[in-house]
């Protein structure tokens, strides 16, 4: 065997991430149910390894211009008859997503410590989901991209329906089964469009391969005519857009996030929704550039509605998780808006926003989950003045809130700024509406923080305790990247830039 070199590392790291998640799921299946402690330790240990591996991918990725666009390539022949290979590799857009997944799964596995009911199946499904997420981000074969995409969607139903929680309000109620089914139907119905689009692209390009790099080259040489791209793009937009929370197909998302257990909400809002936006870039921008160009304005308008509609809905909610859920819809609007600008800077902002929103929203869910575990309610009307009993929680919450409303010095600011610059260059009027959305965000976030954490303490909550060291650690894991990017964004931006360069090559005039 040859000595372990940097090359060896680069060839094997991506597949190792996928195998590790699968292996974790398998090991947990084999551990007897009674060994709950062992199961949790295996899950956390695996989460830590995944985080480490993901950060190493980031470090090893060479963003210098002139370097190949796709790196850490690995390929196994799989089904020659259709031209399907198990082909892995990352570009500058996938790398931040890999890091995001590592951060969130590590934090989520820590937070899952206290999950109720049979926790074995829970961790198995959680890791199957993560396998799907990693696989989607690093696949360079369209078939496997879709394979892993579906794999990530599947476990959600059981994770929410079994381990989730129902919510009841005065006027309506949402059972966890309802929310789980709604989420599943929306996402699987959307994947129908994606599936049809993928087969249609394969047939139209007529290259006999699902290799994304080959397909991209073929498309740039005019393999799919402009008209076909324009017809196919809406399938991609709606299919992936639904997962990204695109208005008006976003309604599964707040319900699903609220019903899901904390760790699943974190993964779902934090990572899974990004799969949708990532899909629009990977399939829409790379393989149907003329289609994206044709439909960009429509996407821009929908994204603007996303921002405003999400923000105003969040303002009207009192349940903490619903606020965060609608806030996610609003923030994903910036991602879509960034893509719709078709400007280098806007797309870069969109990718950074994907990362930034991922860690930020996961942090929110950790904190809301902690409050709910203690107070058994998430209703901000009765939750008042918690800072007196839950000081550290309040600090983290305020931190996440400030990142969310785009305070300079935190990651959200950098990302949204880039998106807005791009947006003003293309559609100034819509861009202004987007900025208004940011202002609305500031209103509801600050109001929420003021109401829940400050002011007089509701005596009902006198017995509450602050978050444990474990939960604090999980929150800190998420807070570090927010601060890091806010203060020193250039390492991330350089990587993303190199990816956006390649992704935008095929765009008309790009």
């Amino acid at each position: 065997m040859e000595p372990i070199s940097q090359n060896y590392f680069e060839e094997h790291i991506l597949e190792s991430l996928i195998y590790l998640t699968m292996l974790t799921a398998l090991v947990i299946v084999l551990i007897p149910r009674r060994q709950a402690h062992l199961i949790r330790l295996v899950a956390i240990g695996s989460g830590a390894l995944l985080l480490l591996g993901s950060v190493l991918v980031f470090v090893a990725f060479d963003y210098a211009s002139g370097e190949p666009a796709y790196q850490m390539l690995r390929s196994y022949s799989w089904l020659d008859q259709l031209g399907i290979d198990f082909r892995l590799g990352v570009d500058g857009i996938a790398v931040p997503m890999v890091v995001l997944t590592g951060v969130v799964i590590f934090s989520a596995s820590i937070v899952s410590w206290n999950i109720e009911r049979v926790n074995k199946n829970y961790f198995v499904l959680l890791y199957v989901l993560v396998a799907g997420v990693y696989g989607t981000f690093v696949s360079l074969d369209l078939f496997f991209f879709f394979f892993f995409y579906e794999l990530a969607v599947v476990p959600m139903y059981l994770l929410i329906a079994v381990w989730g929680s129902s919510s009841t309000f005065e006027t309506f109620s949402r059972t966890k089964e309802y929310s789980a089914l709604k989420l599943t139907i929306y996402l699987v119905a959307a994947s129908v469009l994606v599936w049809v689009a993928i087969i249609a692209i394969y047939v139209a390009a007529d290259t006999g391969t699902f290799n994304i790099i080959e397909l991209q080259k073929a498309v740039q040489n005019g393999a799919i005519d402009v008209r076909a791209q324009q017809v196919l793009f809406p399938l991609v937009l709606l299919g992936f857009g639904t997962l990204a929370g695109l208005w008006p197909f976003h309604t599964w998302s707040p319900d699903g996030h609220v019903a899901a257990p904390t760790a699943v909400s974190m993964l779902h809002a934090g990572v899974l929704m990004k799969l949708g936006a990532f899909g629009i870039i990977r399939v829409g921008m790379l393989l149907l550039p003329e289609g994206l160009d044709h439909w960009a304005l429509v996407l821009f308008i929908m994204a603007t509605i996303n921002v405003l509609y999400g923000a105003f809905s969040a303002m009207a909610q009192t349940d903490l998780k619903y606020v965060i859920g609608y806030s996610s819809v609003s923030h994903m609007g910036y991602v879509l808006m960034g893509i719709a600008t078709l400007e280098h800077i806007g797309v870069t902002g969109a990718v950074l926003q994907m990362f930034s929103h991922g860690v930020m929203t996961a942090l929110f869910f950790v904190l809301v989950g902690a409050i709910y575990d203690r107070a058994h309610t998430r209703d901000s009307v009765v939750l008042n003045g918690l800072a007196k009993r839950m000081g550290i929680t309040a600090i983290f919450f305020a931190f996440a809130g400030l990142a969310s409303l785009g305070l300079p010095g935190l990651s959200g600011f950098v990302a949204e700024l880039l998106v807005f610059i791009g947006a003003f260059r293309t559609e100034p009027i819509l861009a202004v509406l987007g900025v208004i959305g940011a202002a609305v965000t500031a209103v509801y976030i600050l109001r929420l923080i003021a109401r829940v954490f400050f002011g007089p303490l509701n005596p009902q909550w006198d017995h509450l305790t602050d978050i444990s060291k474990r939960e604090g650690f999980a929150a800190a894991v998420l807070a570090v990247p927010i601060l890091f990017i806010g203060i020193w964004p250039s390492p991330f931006l350089r990587v993303i830039n190199s990816g956006v360069d390649v992704a935008m090559q095929g765009l008309p005039g790009g």
């Binding site: 008859q81 579906e150 139903y157 699987v188 119905a189 129908v192 599936w195």
Partner: protein, 482 residues
């Protein structure tokens, strides 16, 4: 003419085995009849598959009686497949038959005969031979459906099945006779040149339509599917499994060969008709399945839906599409057998077969529930299970033939099916059961379930080797017209 009877050894051995099973039943002491005849059948089927087929595999496209009976790679692949399905069906039935069916020897004897019928269908290169195979298979099934003595549903199902089956056989025969009268031959390859000018003439059209109706009944394709739910529900559950796997697979083995050898040049005349039947079959099957509350009825409609998917491969009729069709059939067999195995295990312990009776199975029998979930997900076409890649392959190969609209309908149907499969999953894991005592599943069942699950996952993550084998087998079919 030099006839090499050694090519027929598997068929002779199967017929011998069927009589041997009946003999064991006569001679064995009463309390051991079930186990002994089941053992004979299972060991016999596996032995025939293991020892005779490999010897024949290298025979290049051998045939008997001037192409009437074909022993080529295509037929041999299906023979191995049917023998394996037969052996698994025997294992699946042991406990059930011991509990509920008095005539165990007849049960296993008929099961072996039904496998023989399927084997003949895979080899048939001519319509009357095909008809004999079909009748051998369905007559065995008529008897088996009725074997649940004392259950009125079984008697009712059997009556319906026999009456409608006889009618469809008559239609089929009439169609064959008309085609023979017009074309002068019933050998597939000899029919081809006469059909190359199209199906235009009225007599050919009528004959062909009657043939289609007969096949449609055997497949339970819309609009000839109405017998399926009642028969599936009333039949002893292992027989339902045979109906949904063996009988469908055999019918497709025959029909694919017929289409590939007799009909390729007239494709423009029939393609749209079959495509519409396929679309209707999958849509009606899947939509009706949503409304069911009996699991066997649900599986009946779900298998109607699956027939619709399989017909997509028939419609495209390319080399890739026919490989995909066979692959989907094999994956479908693994998953459906697993589903029925769990259903039978549950039925043996609780005597119930409604969807709500699955409540709490996730805790009462965790492994069986897991296999059930995996199999249902596979049927719905989700990764990492067989159904995902087999459907993807099937749909991709059909989309290349200008059938993207049909593929769109098929994919949408695939999602509809997930909805009703999830209803069962939900019962197993989410709903609170009325009874919580653990269910003890026998070791034999667990072992077979492990094997079936392994097969489902293997096809799902590494289909390459199996596709290679299928491609070699399909080379026995004539070159497909582009």
């Amino acid at each position: 003419m030099n006839i090499d009877f050694s090519l027929l050894i598997p068929e002779f051995m199967l017929a011998g085995l069927a009589f041997a099973v009946l003999g064991v039943d006569l001679l064995a002491p009463e309390h051991r009849r079930n186990v002994l005849s089941a053992t004979t059948a299972a060991v016999g089927l596996s032995a025939i598959a293991a020892f005779t087929l490999p010897y024949l595999w290298n025979e290049q496209d051998a045939s008997l009686y001037d192409g009437i009976y074909r022993v080529d790679q295509y037929a041999l692949l299906f023979k191995a497949f049917f023998l394996a399905v037969g052996a698994v069906s025997v294992l699946m039935s042991v406990e059930y038959v011991g509990q509920r069916i008095k005539h165990s020897g007849e049960f296993y004897g008929m099961l072996v005969f039904s496998v023989l019928g399927a084997v003949v269908m895979a080899s048939a290169g001519e319509l009357l031979t095909a008809y004999i195979g079909i009748e051998l298979l369905t007559f065995s099934l008529y008897v088996m459906v009725a074997l649940h003595r004392g259950d009125t549903r079984s008697a009712e199902a059997s009556t319906k099945y026999i009456l409608l089956g006889a009618l469809s056989s008559a239609v089929l025969l009439y169609g064959i006779s008309i085609l023979y009268g017009t074309l002068g031959s019933t050998v597939f390859t000899s029919m081809e040149p006469s059909l190359a000018f199209g199906l235009g003439t009225a007599t050919i059209l009528v004959g062909f339509a009657m043939l289609l109706a007969g096949f449609g009944f055997k497949l339970a394709a819309v609009p000839f599917h109405l017998w399926a739910p009642d028969v599936y529900e009333g039949a002893p559950t292992p027989v339902t499994a045979l109906l949904s796997v063996l009988s469908k697979a055999a019918a497709f083995a025959l029909i694919l060969r017929f289409f590939a050898e007799a009909l390729p040049s007239s494709i423009d005349d029939w393609q749209l008709t079959i495509a519409v039947i396929a679309a209707a079959t999958m849509t009606i099957g899947n939509l009706t399945a949503i409304a069911q509350h009996n699991v066997k009825r649900l599986l009946a409609y779900s298998s109607v839906g699956q027939v619709g998917f399989l017909m997509v491969g028939l419609v495209a009729l390319t080399e890739a599409a026919s490989s995909a069709l066979v692959l989907h059939l094999i994956g479908y067999a693994f998953t459906n057998l697993a589903v029925f195995m769990v259903l039978i295990a549950l039925e043996n312990r609780t005597g119930k077969e409604e969807i709500v009776d699955f409540a709490g199975l996730g805790n009462r029998a965790p492994f069986s529930a897991m296999v059930m979930t995996a199999s249902l997900f596979s049927l719905a076409g989700l990764p990492i299970f067989a159904g995902f890649i087999t459907k993807f392959y099937l749909f991709t190969s059909a989309a290349g033939e200008g059938l993207l609209w049909l593929v769109g309908i098929a994919i949408a149907n695939s999602v509809i099916s997930l909805y009703y499969y999830l209803r069962i999953v939900r019962q197993m894991y989410v709903e609170e059961p009325s009874e919580t005592s653990p269910l003890r599943v026998p070791v034999l069942t667990t072992l077979v379930l492990i094997a079936l699950l392994a097969g489902t996952v293997f096809i799902g993550v590494y289909p390459g080797p199996i596709v290679d084998i299928i491609e070699v087998a399909n080379r026995s079919l004539p070159p497909f017209v582009p």
